[in-house]
C-alpha cells in the first residue's frame, strides 16, 4: 500500500467526523487530533476498520492541573501497511474522569488502560478488569498526578527560583 500523507488522513477524518475532531498540529510529522469522549470509540473503530490503523501502539495519560479539563488520555495508533501513525487526545474534567474503553477494539488496550488507571485514575468504562497493575492494590492515590511530589515537599533546594526561573 502506498504511503498516506497527513493531509489525506486528516481530510478523511474531517469528512467523516466534521467538527467533532480538532487538529492540534503535526509535531515531527505525527498528526495529532483532539476529540471528545463521546466520539472516541467511533474515531478509533473508524481508524481501525476503515483506514487500516490495525495496530494500537500506546495508551497513556497526562495531567495539566491548571487546565479546565486537566486530564488528557493519549492514544497512539499505527497503520503498519501505510506507514503512518496518528495521535489522538481526549481531555477530561477533574470531577468526571470517565472514558469508554478501547479494549473491545484492541485486546492490547487492556493493560495499557489498567496502567493509565493505576497512575492517573482515569476510569475506563466497560473495561473487563480495571484493577491496579504496577502499584500495590491498596494504594489510595494516583501517583502520576502532578499534586503528588516525587520528593519531600518541604525540600526547597530544588525550587525553580534558585535557578532563575
Amino acid at each position: 500500500m502506498a504511503k498516506i500523507s497527513n493531509e489525506e488522513l486528516l481530510q478523511q477524518l474531517v469528512s467523516k467526523f466534521d467538527d467533532k475532531i480538532t487538529q492540534l498540529g503535526d509535531p515531527y510529522g505525527l498528526l495529532t487530533i483532539e476529540t471528545s469522549r463521546d466520539e472516541i470509540t467511533n474515531v478509533l473503530s473508524y481508524l481501525k476498520n476503515d483506514l487500516d490503523f490495525i495496530h494500537l501502539t500506546d495508551i497513556t495519560a497526562i495531567h495539566y492541573p491548571e487546565l479546565e479539563k486537566p486530564f488528557g488520555v493519549i492514544y497512539h495508533v499505527h497503520n503498519l501497511a501505510g506507514g503512518i501513525r496518528i495521535r489522538i487526545k481526549v481531555f477530561l474534567a477533574a470531577n468526571d474522569v470517565h472514558i469508554p474503553t478501547a479494549s473491545e477494539i484492541w485486546n492490547g488496550a487492556n493493560w495499557m488502560e489498567r496502567e493509565t488507571y493505576d497512575f492517573f485514575g482515569i476510569q475506563f468504562d466497560g473495561h473487563p478488569d480495571l484493577r491496579r497493575i504496577l502499584n500495590v492494590d491498596d494504594m489510595e492515590v494516583f501517583p502520576m498526578r502532578k499534586e503528588y511530589p516525587l520528593e519531600d515537599p518541604n525540600r526547597i533546594d530544588k525550587k525553580d527560583y534558585f535557578f532563575g526561573r
Partner: protein
Amino acid sequence: MHNHLLITDNDPQSELSTLNLGPTHPATHGVFQNVLELDGERIVSGVSTIGYIHRAFEKIAEHRPFYQITPLTDRLNYCSSPINNMGWHMTVEKLLGIEMPKRVDYLRVIIMELARITDHIVCNGVLGVDTGAFTGFLYMMQFREHVYEIYEEICGSRLTTNIGRIGGFERNFNTIAFDKIRKFLKEFPVALREFEALFNRNRIFIDRTKDIAAVTAETALSYSWTGPILRAAGVDYDVRAQEPYSSYQDFDFEVPVGTNGDVYNRFLVRNEEMWQSLRIIEQAMEKLEKEDLSIFHAAVPEFYLPPKEEVYNNMEALIYHFKIVMGEIDTPTTEVYHAVEGANGELGFYLVNDGGRSPYRLHFRRPSFVNYQMYAPMSRGMVLSDAIINMSSLNVIAGELDA
C-alpha cells in the same frame, strides 16, 4: 492473594489446584508471578501479577534533566541497555532537531546490533535450557561476555551501560574496541552455526517447541505485539525497516518472518535476526572506513556535554557544561514520539516537553509490558511445562515490564 483468582470457592471448578508460579521461581527468568488454576497438569486459568520491581521511572524522569534520564533507560531492558540508551538520545535529538553525522549513526548501529545479538543469545539460550539442553546456553554465553568487553572499551561499564550522550558518544572508539568487534565478527558466526546445528533439527527440541503457543497474525496484532514474536507470526513489521532511524536506510538487511507464531518459529526468527545483525555490523564497519575518524559527536556545544579537560580550561565549555548540568538549555515546547526496534519489539518514548528543566511527561512504550499481557490468556489449555517454554520465548524482561 485470594482476590486474584478467577474461580471462587463456590464454583464447582474449585476442585482444581492453585499454583503460585513465581514471583521467584527457578523456571521463570525474572520476577513474574502467575496464579494458575491447574487441572492436573493442564492450566485452566491464570492471572498475571506484575509490578514487583516497579521503580517509578516515569515519575523520576519528570524531575531530572534530559541527560540524567539515560541511566533510567538502562534499567528497562537490561539485556540490551544500549538500544534503550540510543533510543532515548535519539528522542531528545529529534526534539532538539539535531542532525547527527553519519559516523555517529554507524557507530550507534554497531552498538545497537551487538546489543540485539546479546539479547537474542540470552533468550534463545535460555529456551534451550528450559527444554533440557544446557550446552547451547553455556556455549553462547561467552559471546555475551565478549560483547560486554566491547561495551567496556567504549563506555567503561557492562550491564547498565549509560552509553553515549545526547549528541553523540562521550569519547571516540579506541582501536582495541574495533579490534574486539572484528574478533567478534570472526568468531561469533562459527558459534552461531554450531548453536543452530545443535537445535534447529534436534528432534527433542522440535517436539517440545513446534506448535506450542502458536499465535495467528491477527491475534498478535490485536494484542499490539511487536518485535520477533510478531514477526514469527508472519507480520513483517520492523521499526528499523519501516521508520529508519540512525541511518538504517543505508544498510542492506532482511526482516525474517515466521509462519505460525509458535515457540519454534520465534526461535528461528531470533536466530536469523542475529545473522542479519552480523550483516549490518559488517556493513557498518566497512562504511566507517570512509568517514572522518575523528568525528564521534555532532557539533552542538549547547546540548552535548563537553569533555572534562575542556570544562576546566575553556570558558565556553564551562558555560555549556554548567547550563546542561543545571538543565538551563533552551528546548522547544512540543511533544515527540520516537520508536526504536528494541530486542523485544517497538520501544517507544513519548516525551511532552514544556521547555523546562526536565520533561513535563515522559512515557515509555515498553514492548515487554505490552507483549506479556497475552501470556495468561494464551496459557489456558496448555500444560504447565509448555507455558514455561512459552514465557521464555516471549523474552519478557522484568525491568522493562515493570518500569
